[in-house]
């Protein structure tokens, strides 16, 4: 500011040119060496241990701020079982951890367990430990494998879904539709709709009765959930979108199923099934609108369930997004709160034991539901956490266990690349709902932005 303010500060032209010349020379000499240090060593452990011995050890766990309560509890339970291992939970806020993760993992003070939002280039840059040896040692390979689909990364470092295991989660998210029981009664809804047609009929009735059919947070991606549920319905399977999510080469979202899904969603918008401010509502506002009775349905995820139960126990219900026709396969989106072991971790054996513990221990699994609001997966015969009867948390837990068996769980399209949600899905669904783009254009843009983001 003061530089601009002072009238005498303007340098004479020749000096400016000299500066530019110096800068250019400096830039050219800089350019002689490429940035980046390359891989930081091996990410595959040699001999592994599952016995933690008796030596006093401190396991450093780095998670995002909202995870702290859960991981503190998990750490305490782990310490009770392995008295020589103390778990030290540290946290960063979500955005900081997401944006700094590669620097945290390549630095000098590396944690033993870390929460990651997406793999990005972490595997390619050899920053994470390959968990395959531990998976066989602890028997994770005998569990339902769909729970590990999103945390397996192929040898090329970017394609997910197959390859080596690089992370596990204490619990899983799940999407579906919440409904307001009092408003449901007003429109004569006695059971959850079992087909898309039945679902639409209920929305039409609600609209006619002056009730907003759908509450959704269109500002930060909620309408994208509806689009993906419809997409999986019309495709008849989660496979096409799952391949796309996993960055399988040649997979495309520019398909007739996507166009059909977008067409239906646009029709819902035209019919007034969304609130008029849908594009301005975010994730913190939408549950408030829903719990205050402003709409019949709220398509969202199980992370909302504890909040809905505390806002009005017994007032809200949950059902899975219905298939196109009655009797069809149900599907939902899921994601795990992935935790991984850094390649430079000081205590990889204790870290792997901790990961095994949080997936299998009964107390840990109960903590995961109570404090994390997500559902543990783990082995088929894993303990089933208890939930209050009639609670939406209970409804989401049983829905998840059903879908885990029928393999009806797909990743979120929003996680296909790091910024596909911000760059394409959110703006495109906003345009669609506002009638500013066509379903064909939406499908085409999603695919072209995806290709562009993967290109580098």
């Amino acid at each position: 500011m003061s530089r601009i303010d002072t009238p005498h500060a303007t340098p004479r032209i020749p000096r400016r040119i000299a500066l530019v010349a110096v800068a250019t020379v400096a830039a050219l000499s800089l350019a002689a060496c490429a940035p980046g240090s390359g891989g930081s060593g091996s990410s595959t452990p040699g001999a592994i241990k599952t016995d933690l011995g008796t030596k006093a050890t401190t396991l450093n766990v780095l998670v995002t701020t909202p995870d702290v309560a859960l991981f503190d509890a998990l750490g305490k339970a782990f310490h009770a079982k392995y008295p020589n291992v103390k778990v030290n939970v540290q946290s960063q806020d979500y955005t900081s951890l997401t944006t700094n993760i590669s620097h945290v993992l390549s630095g000098t003070n590396v944690p033993d367990v870390v929460r990651i939002a997406s793999f990005g280039n972490l595997v390619k840059d050899k920053l994470l430990l390959n968990l395959d040896p531990y998976a066989s040692a602890y028997g994770w390979t005998k569990w339902p494998q769909s729970q590990f689909a999103s945390t397996r990364v192929a040898a090329n470092g970017t394609q997910r879904g197959s390859g080596s295991l690089y992370g596990v989660g204490p619990g899983f998210g799940l999407t579906g539709v919440y409904y307001n029981k009092a408003l449901a009664q007003q429109v004569g809804m006695t059971t959850a709709p079992t087909s898309l047609a039945a679902f639409e009929k209920l929305m039409a009735k609600a609209k006619a009765a002056g009730i907003t059919p759908i509450i959704e947070n269109g500002k930060d991606g909620g309408t994208g959930f509806i689009l993906q549920n419809l997409q999986m319905d019309y495709a008849g399977s989660i496979a096409p979108v799952q391949k796309w999510n996993e960055d399988v080469q040649g997979a495309s979202i520019d398909s007739s199923a996507t166009v059909e899904a977008a067409t239906t969603m646009q029709q819902w918008a035209k019919d007034g099934y969304f609130a008029p401010d849908v594009n301005a509502v975010d994730q913190t506002l939408s549950p408030t609108q829903f719990t205050s009775g402003q709409g019949l349905f709220f398509p969202s995820g199980n992370w909302q369930a504890p909040g809905l139960d505390s806002a009005g126990a017994g007032k809200f219900g949950f059902f899975l997004f219905p298939p196109t026709s009655a009797g069809g396969e149900y599907s939902a989106m899921t994601s795990t709160d992935t935790v991984a072991v850094p390649a430079k971790a000081t205590h990889p054996a204790a870290a792997a034991a901790f990961l095994n513990f949080i997936q299998t221990d009964a107390i840990a699994r109960q903590d995961t539901v109570n404090l994390g609001g997500v559902v543990p997966a783990g082995p088929v015969n894993g303990s089933t956490p208890t939930t209050k009867s009639g609670s939406v948390v209970g409804a989401t837990v049983s829905a998840f266990r059903g879908l885990l068996k029928s393999d009806g769980l797909a990743d979120f399209m929003a996680n296909a690349t790091a910024s596909i949600n911000a760059n394409a899905i959110i703006p495109q669904t906003q345009l669609l709902v506002a009638g500013q783009t066509t379903p064909q254009n939406l499908a085409k843009t999603l695919q072209s932005d995806y290709t562009q983001e993967l290109a580098q």
Binding site: P7, G36, G39, D277, A280, A434, Q456
Partner: protein
């Protein structure tokens, strides 16, 4: 005459290195934390690099895509539209406001007005962005006010509206910039020689003629500073938009600053992000350097 002609010779023999010594600490810091990162960004813009792994030479690819991506061009267009809200309106209103405040006798009212106008400069913009998005929501204060004066039918979710989102964000910009411009112009007015006003009044000028003949020319320096500062703020805007609309609805409020953030910190395409950031810097320089020339003409 002899002294004058002798001076350059003396200077040549003893170049004034003392000055440099005084500047050195600042220069070291400036070089380490501004110039060096700037040059690094220029270098990165020619590579594909994720910030950790090995970088690969990209040639001009990152620069080419700046000019071929329609979303990117649209974002630049939005940044220019914001100049109206960040620069034109605050300076016009600031001139008016400063002229009015000057008429008020020094006292609690004048002080309170200045403080109120300057508060937006002190409040963190992220907090302000959140507060503004509440004001603009369907049930927010803006719509409540419209309903109260009987214009409830005009109410809408302003930041989610395809026509009004950009102007709504622009109004936040006016709110931020107005205080800065007003205070600066006010202090500039205090610097103007009172005898000029006296002369104007003797010549029979009214307050309007006085404003255009004395005040406005006297404020040339301050206006140029306001224009420079606010244009930079408009073209590089990021925080308010990231918090209030995230570039939406659709791409209506997307600006290059938000794009740079996404490319660097979400996509980890540091090369592409650097190219856009350097382009943004050059664009800002290309606009504000000519503006500086206005200051010299007297």
């Amino acid at each position: 005459m002899g002294i004058v002609s002798g001076q350059p010779r003396i200077r040549r023999r003893h170049p004034d290195w003392h000055g440099l010594l005084w500047v050195l600490p600042a220069l070291v810091v400036y070089t380490a934390f501004v110039l060096y990162p700037l040059l690094q960004s220029v270098q990165y813009s020619f590579y594909n690099w994720d910030g950790v792994g090995e970088a690969t030479w990209a040639g001009l690819a990152n620069w080419e895509s700046l000019f071929t991506d329609p979303e990117m061009l649209h974002a630049v267009g939005n940044a220019f539209a914001l100049i109206v809200f960040y620069t034109v309106v605050p300076i016009l209103l600031g001139l008016l406001g400063a002229a009015l405040i000057r008429q008020v006798r020094p006292g609690p009212f004048g002080t309170a007005t200045r403080v109120a106008l300057f508060v937006p400069q002190v409040i963190p913009l992220v907090g302000a962005g959140i507060a503004w998005s509440w004001l603009y929501s369907q049930t927010g204060l803006v719509n409540q006010f419209l309903a109260w004066i009987g214009l409830g039918s005009l109410g809408r979710a302003w930041l989610g509206d395809f026509t009004f989102a950009l102007p709504a964000v622009g109004v936040i910009g006016i709110w931020v910039m107005l205080g800065f411009c007003t205070i600066l112009l006010l202090s500039g007015m205090g610097r103007i020689d009172p005898s000029l006003y006296e002369a104007a009044r003797l010549d029979g000028a009214g307050s309007v003629a006085e404003f255009f003949a004395v005040t406005l020319p006297g404020l040339r320096q301050e206006i140029v500073v306001c224009v420079t500062f606010t244009i930079i703020a408009a073209l590089t805007s990021f925080d308010i938009i990231q918090v209030s609309t995230q570039g939406g609805p659709g791409y209506q409020t997307l600006v290059p600053g938000v794009d740079v953030y996404r490319l660097a910190f979400l996509d980890q395409h540091l090369g592409q992000a650097s190219a856009l950031a350097i382009f943004l810097t050059l664009m800002v320089l290309a606009i504000i350097i000519p503006v500086q020339q206005l200051r010299r003409v007297r």
